[in-house]
Symmetry: C2
Subunit: 208 residues, 2 copies
DNA sequence: GACCCTCGACCGACAACCTGTCGGTAACAG
DNA sequence: CTGTTACCGACAGGTTGTCGGTCGAGGGTC
């Protein structure tokens, strides 16, 4: 009844299980007891490895975001691809990574998981923003678009999409399309790109 | 020991107290018992008037947002003022309303109150966005700026400011200024206004 | 090999909360 | 006198985090 494992292994076992449950039932609705039951360990064990339930959440998010950032970075470094296109690729690489992504981001936006969403958003911002900003700067250098504040542009776009498009479910199809059109239009404006010039590039990101 | 009041009076008494405590300690860290103690009523009384703790939060936010929307609306209808200027006035009217606003918005951004922030943001969006969009449309008609998607522009700006500038504390002064500069620049881009043309108008909103 | 000891991983009872329910009570209106 | 509205407080059920104690693998020592 007492199975001893190396700390790192136990830790990721706990994270795996927590992730699964958080995705399925949401953060608030998952009790530490649920996690214990699923793994078959005792209360004390969990609190030996993590100092609180929130600590688990943070670790889980860091893991996810770290993976996403890594994928984005890999794409970012491939200088063969035109910068603007690479920017889009980096974003879609992150979406793809997210194996459980679909359900996770869906959960995220349920009001219950506000904390989870907020923490994920913050982590994503601080990890990924610099990477995307780097690519955008290259795009500006290439002369395909222009802005004096690439960092602020990425910020604005990330915050907006994180808030608006994660819960693509729920809303009506035509509503969604209108939002996407507006978003593309605004993005073109922010980058001083000709109207319609980014449409084909951006649209695939919203395919489903 | 048993003081009977009319339902509406009790309700707003509860909301007042809850608001005070939520602002001071945050939503998660305020227990219903705290509220009871502060007012001097029994558990059952609170749950006679509200069906849950979250219900109290929602009612409190609706009250706040309702007041803010009303102020904004009042300003919006004053056609004497140029639309673009009116837009700014409407925004600053909302900030002013918020008597406890400073502390409230500060609390909002502490990770603990993610739920509160999220709900407030959503309510604000749906109430205030149409009002501001209306003003922006007038501005476009006046010819002082242009956009095909006024609604999306307001959306983007509200989401971004709600996320980024509420927690103006915490970050360094120069960091803050850079963010503001970027924001103004981006706003000008979104509205197709000449660079620098909105600066004097927008800047006062960030005064402190 | 036999002994001991340390220390990391683990256990589970328990304290200290928390929210929401429910049967019952007081007062007022009609 | 009766129905309704506002109120009470004990209590059920659930939550997180703590803490003293256990177990055993591995390292020294003889």
């Amino acid at each position: 009844m007492r199975i001893v494992k190396e700390a790192e292994i136990r830790k990721s076992e706990i994270l795996d299980t927590a992730e699964k449950l958080f995705v399925r039932k949401g953060y608030e609705n998952t009790s530490t007891t649920d996690i214990l039951g699923e793994i078959g360990i005792a209360r004390g064990t969990l609190y030996y490895h993590f100092k609180s339930k929130e600590d688990i959440l943070i670790a889980m998010i860091d893991r996810q975001v770290g993976q996403m950032a890594a994928k984005a970075k890999a794409v970012a470094e491939n200088r063969e691809i035109p910068a603007l296109q690479r920017l889009i690729l980096a974003v879609s690489a992150m979406k793809a990574d997210n194996g459980l992504g679909k359900e996770l981001t869906e959960q995220m936006h349920k009001p219950h998981n506000a904390l989870m969403h907020q923490k994920a958003q913050a982590a994503l911002l601080s990890e990924v923003n610099p990477i995307l900003t780097g690519i955008l700067k290259e795009a500006v250098d290439e002369g395909v678009c222009s802005t004096d504040y690439p960092d602020a542009v990425i910020d604005m776009i990330m915050v907006y999409t994180g808030h608006t498009f994660d819960d693509l479910s729920e809303i009506a199809e035509d509503e969604r399309e209108k939002k996407i059109d507006g978003f593309i239009y605004n993005t073109e404006r922010l980058l001083c790109a000709a109207e319609g010039s980014l449409r084909e590039l951006i649209l695939p990101l919203f395919a489903r």
